[in-house]
Symmetry: C2
Amino acid sequence: MDNFNFCRPTDFYFGRGVENDTGKVCVKHGAKKVLIHYGGQSAVKSGLLTRVQESLDDAGVAYVCLGGVQPNPRAELVYEGIRICREQSVDLVLAVGGGSVIDSAKAIAMGVPYDGDFWDFFMGSRVPERALPVGCVLTIAAAGSEGSNSCVIDRVVDGVVKKKGSNFQTNVCTFSILNPELTYTLPPFQTACGACDIMCHVIERYFTNTRAVKMSDELCEGVLRTVVQMLPRVMADPRDYDARASIMWASTLAHNNLLGADREQDWASHHLEHELSAMYDCAHGAGLAVVTPAWMTYVYKHDVMRFARFAVNVMGCQMDYEDPEQTALAGIAALRQLWGNAGLPLNFDELGAKREDIDALVANIGGPDHKEGHFVVLNKEDVRRIYQLAADYQRPQA
Amino acid sequence: MDNFNFCRPTDFYFGRGVENDTGKVCVKHGAKKVLIHYGGQSAVKSGLLTRVQESLDDAGVAYVCLGGVQPNPRAELVYEGIRICREQSVDLVLAVGGGSVIDSAKAIAMGVPYDGDFWDFFMGSRVPERALPVGCVLTIAAAGSEGSNSCVIDRVVDGVVKKKGSNFQTNVCTFSILNPELTYTLPPFQTACGACDIMCHVIERYFTNTRAVKMSDELCEGVLRTVVQMLPRVMADPRDYDARASIMWASTLAHNNLLGADREQDWASHHLEHELSAMYDCAHGAGLAVVTPAWMTYVYKHDVMRFARFAVNVMGCQMDYEDPEQTALAGIAALRQLWGNAGLPLNFDELGAKREDIDALVANIGGPDHKEGHFVVLNKEDVRRIYQLAADYQRPQA
């Protein structure tokens, strides 16, 4: 077990109707004027935005609004948010939406008190000393941004979309309001993408070279098993509260780093996916469903027994004691089957990615000596082969 | 799944040598002058207190010291701590010790900014609006006070020791410094008592009537399995770092309420034990080893399948599909065997409790209409029968 620091001070409100307390929670955390940040029209049409605004009105909290966050959120809107917050003396950014909205809100919150360009924090040249507090009303269980220190933003540089992440303690939400009912109306594809993202946040942590991490391995497997069990339930019945609730809380636990604080983590699959969603603007969870099993197939021989354990403890496979490698492969196959059954793409074609772009994807990920991952350290040739595996994969005939 | 609020802002530093950063961590959290609060001579003799003081010196943090906290910490020392903090303008209470020291520190921290008697917070008549920040350097994995909102204090009222708990958000430690190596030198009995307390914090949450709590059930079982596996290891080799580390982090997770925020919890066994340690000044974990299996034996028929699940998923028993009740009972027997093998008492005699005191124990727990627990709501006759089961239990012949 590695030494670690763990601090996640987020104040969580979880359950039916909790979004109606948004105003009170803002007051509790000292907000007087908030920027309500949101995405497209779904938050408007569903009436959620109106309820949040009424809650703020009732609590005497002033607000300004900035909608229009798109999936794979863009830097341009972050600049606009920063400008509005400064002009309007906003003291808290309230994200009403999913991971993209929360990440855009986090970037705005970083930028407001900073004299320079907020993008500095994404290029690794600066660490934010402070940020405005961020609260969220979550509408999709996926990114885990409601409990994590992560923030991912896209920016067009020389005509190419660059996707950059930042991981800072100041990115952790001050409060997060999680009502599973708000996810009832998600399109099935988004629900499935979210579940995949959740599982991949755990998988990036689960496959580690750090030994003696039984405690957090148990937590990892518990969160993964929960999603494995609940994903088919929400696909069958989108209004299954208990399944929605389990997946929503799993999304938070999967990525607040409780499951990986004590270990070296991998993150190669996420980075390979980021190149896909940067190039194709595809859903992050969909890209992960294509890349992650390809990565697993490429690296499983590094630790066959850990992959066998994943197969048995997470995917419910039988252990083959005479040939553990078959068990490892069965686990990867079962994962693909779970995701495929939920309507997720499993190869380049199904995702809308092109085999002939692999050179560009590999070029975009970094310079000639670029390395990815920790479970297995990958060079650019390894990365190419993983993309090729992701392109080549064919679903088994029924 | 029940609606819930969950907020545990503690800043954790975990691993080898982290206590040497205590001064820096105090500075990070704004402390200028701390009260170092500790128990007996072990913190002095081991050199830990000196290292903590040197760390504070190096960081330019002033301090005063107050030792002498005893197990089942007393109100008298809390009053003294409050007086010292006020006189010396202390701005943070630093507990160096286990649950008793941390709880004493929490009570001091509550009392300092309060005009009235701190005991009001334990009699249920007041809720603290604020408290001094509390930090800790943990020396035993047991109470979970390093991550919980709990604080338990004893006070002598009319010649009788009254043990009272308080659960407030202001009780949550600002920071906790957890080095598993500091537990290497614990006497085996204390190690075992700690592991029992950890398991019982989970058991109080695991046996619930709340349905659809798969996510947190998984976390409960994972923490319990970790202790079940690691307890024999630390009994065999007190310097097994990985086992000590697993148990220490388990102690935090068992009681920071992540495992039970979404459910009704029981706590009857804890309350029945509190009467034992109030009367006999026995170790809390030892009392729990006697009471909890008796409680389990008394209530298991309320939900045989949950007890069977505990037996299979936690204690590693085989499921008897023809007679699940036998599986449930086998789980309780396996738990007693685990604890008995670790040197814990399993009945009144072994604890040093007396059968003839049962009337007094039952009288002390509350008035004639007093109720205990939630999994099964117990009246005073039920409580009597559980104490009798705890007195009657005999270890199976080898």
